[in-house]
């Protein structure tokens, strides 16, 4: 009886899953089970997150082992995608299309009627606050808008499982909130989400359930709070794109959470030992000083340090 319950709540399981690209190992002998809810896949760039996600979405074929999603084999099983929404990492589009055309065309490719596809596309773009710009060509979109369109095409058919590969990468603060809200709302509706990121704080806001992956191996799986302490021991780097770098540096200079500030051609790189506090205070600092900014990113150097700590013990 318990076995049945566990099986019914399982959204993904992999057994001995490996992938090599020639001599390069993408994923090594991964055996894992993921259950209902939101799961964060955390790891630095090149850790194997995207390979794992491509395997679980049938984009690539396992070199060894098997992966099942929603209790169905993935490879060459397109019907499964009636229940899955996938937002890939790559910034690729039919860029001559408008946002609305892009999402509705992909829904048509799924088999929906033209009218239904357009309605569903508009709805999903509206949820991501893209209604005003959905009739503009994608080639004119900012990175944050393109990310939102990618998420819109993934959620438009109301899937049971949403798989997002680095959806918050390069997003503007508002886009970030919109995407996070979609994930939270899907979770509230009892849907399942697998989200990959190299920024722990992004995932931490969405779920406590994380899988740590590095160099093709699954290092740990479980509650995010177990590794929070480790993160705080390592400096955290935040990159702020702004035209007013000097003004921002001045505003941050007295902030006790900031360890160092470095100038870049298009902004600042700030190192902090208290990322939570810093992230909380930054919007206030920006608005109070009327500093324009276009992008907030966090390189994964800090995560590398955590992984080094986990794998090597320091």
């Amino acid at each position: 009886m318990d076995y049945e319950r566990v099986r019914n709540s399982r959204i993904l399981w992999a057994m001995g899953l490996s992938k090599w690209y020639g001599m390069v190992m993408g994923l090594n002998n991964v055996s894992i089970e993921l259950y209902q809810g939101v799961t964060g896949l955390i790891g630095p760039n090149g850790a194997g997150k995207s390979t794992f996600i491509k395997l679980m979405t049938g984009q690539i074929r396992p070199s060894k082992g098997e992966v099942f999603v929603l209790e169905q084999k993935v490879w060459n099983n397109p019907q499964l995608f009636e229940r899955i929404g996938y937002c890939p990492e790559q910034d690729s589009f039919y860029s001559w299309m408008t946002g609305l055309e892009f999402v509705s065309t992909l829904l048509r490719v799924s088999g929906y009627e033209k009218m239904d596809a357009e309605y569903m596309a508009e709805e999903s773009l509206r949820v991501l606050d893209m209604s005003d710009s959905m009739d503009r060509k994608i080639s004119g979109y900012s990175k944050g808008m393109r990310q939102r369109v990618k998420v819109a095409q993934a959620i438009a058919h109301d899937p049971d499982l949403l798989i997002l590969d680095e959806p918050l990468s390069g997003t503007d603060p508002v886009g970030r909130v919109r995407i996070m809200n979609v994930i939270k709302e899907m979770s509230r509706k009892g849907k399942n989400v697998i989200i990959s990121s190299h920024v722990l704080h992004d995932v931490e806001r969405l779920t406590r359930n994380v899988v740590l992956i590095n160099k093709g191996w699954i290092i740990a799986q479980g509650d995010v709070h177990a590794i929070r302490g480790l993160i705080d021991n390592h400096p955290h780097i935040v990159r702020v794109k702004t035209r007013e770098a000097r003004k921002l540096a001045k505003a941050l200079s007295g902030n006790e959470t900031v360890v160092s500030i470095a100038f870049e051609p298009d902004g600042l790189v700030v190192t902090t030992r208290k990322p939570d506090v810093f992230y909380a205070e930054l919007p206030k600092i920006l608005t109070e000083n009327e500093i324009p900014f276009t992008e907030l990113t966090s390189p994964d150097d800090n995560l590398d340090a955590v992984f080094k700590y986990l794998v090597e013990g320091g």
Partner: protein, 331 residues
């Protein structure tokens, strides 16, 4: 408080609530939109200090519309993918170049009409055949098929848009077939118009305006031959593109060696080329339609058989392309 767009109910509500506004310039111009505020208590919408929206849309889309019945869904997929391929091909920069070239080549029939090299009966129709068979089919159509046929799938791989198709409930066979149909329609349209224009320029030279209708078999079989080439060569180059990373090189070798050199050396080996089959289809087709059999150098079997060779070639190539694609990673 951050504001990034003007007007709308959201802004009005902001003003009613007496919240502070900052100009667009102050938050980075028009490119980012929406309202965000710093939430201090963390009571709802995330941990303390999280950015939470105070306006604008939230949630997930309303429940999706039901998927239509299977046959209807396949038809919808077919129409969408065929249109997508046609749109990609017809609005491609390469296509503009091809159209300019084809328009420029209309100078050939124009020059012929200006200074007819021969007054004998049927000379204009002979010139039309030479233009279509030698210039168009053996040269331009073949290389345009290589260009487009090989890029139908590879462009999706290189642009990394294939990911979107592979994450939809559509089989790889459907992807190949519908993209192929889109390719055939687009490239045929591209060549049908200049072929008709060539005909309309030259055919009246024979019998005046009535020459257009009385010699329509020339046009019909030339268009048929063009369709054969586009259909079979396209499938062949599409198959090649699924097998090798850079299909242009082996494709060029095939064009230059097989369809140009071997097709013209004569003997039985020439019959194995598609160029030979197309010439047979056109020449035999025209003579058959005029009741004159067996007096042309091209082909010792009926035109429909030549056409079937192209159909079988296309079918086999598409089948092989599907088999390769079924087991292939496009990472």
């Amino acid at each position: 408080m951050v504001k990034g767009k003007k007007g709308g109910k959201a802004e009005e509500r902001m003003k009613e609530e007496g919240k502070e506004e900052v100009s667009e310039e102050a938050v980075g111009g028009k490119e980012e939109t929406g309202f965000v505020e710093l939430k201090e208590d963390g009571a709802a919408g995330g941990p303390a200090g999280a950015l939470v929206p105070v306006d604008g849309p939230t949630g997930t889309p309303a429940s999706a519309r039901p998927m239509p019945p299977k046959n209807r869904a396949i038809m919808n997929r077919g129409l969408a993918l065929t249109w997508l391929t046609m749109r990609t091909i017809l609005f491609d920069k390469k296509t503009i170049m091809v159209i300019i070239m084809l328009l420029a080549l209309l100078a050939i029939p124009a020059k012929w009409l200006n200074e007819p090299p021969s007054d004998k009966e049927g000379a204009a129709l002979e010139a039309f055949l030479m233009i279509i068979v030698i210039l168009y089919l053996q040269f331009i159509v073949l290389y345009v098929c290589l260009l487009y046929g090989s890029s139908v799938i590879t462009s999706e791989v290189e642009d990394r848009t294939l990911t979107y198709l592979l994450s939809r409930p559509i089989t790889k066979l459907e992807i190949i077939l519908f993209k192929y149909i889109g390719y055939v329609i687009s490239v045929f349209l591209l060549f049908a118009l200049p072929t008709v224009l060539n005909y309309l320029m030259l055919a009246p030279y024979e019998d005046g305006a009535s020459g257009i209708s009385s010699n329509a078999d020339f046009l019909a079989f030339c268009l048929g031959g063009m369709f054969m080439g586009i259909m079979a060569w396209g499938a062949f180059f599409m198959m090649l593109a699924t097998m090798v990373k850079n299909p242009l090189m082996p494709g060029l070798v095939y064009c230059l060696f097989w369809e140009s050199l071997i097709a013209n050396i004569g003997g039985n080996i020439s019959k194995m080329t598609l160029t030979y089959q197309i010439r047979t289809f056109i020449a035999r087709g025209i003579t058959e339609s005029r009741g004159a059999f067996g007096d042309n150098p091209w082909g010792d079997y009926p035109s429909w058989q030549a056409f079937m060779v192209a159909v079988v070639m296309a079918f086999v190539c598409l089948f092989l392309a599907w088999q390769v694609m079924k087991g292939k990673d496009f990472h």
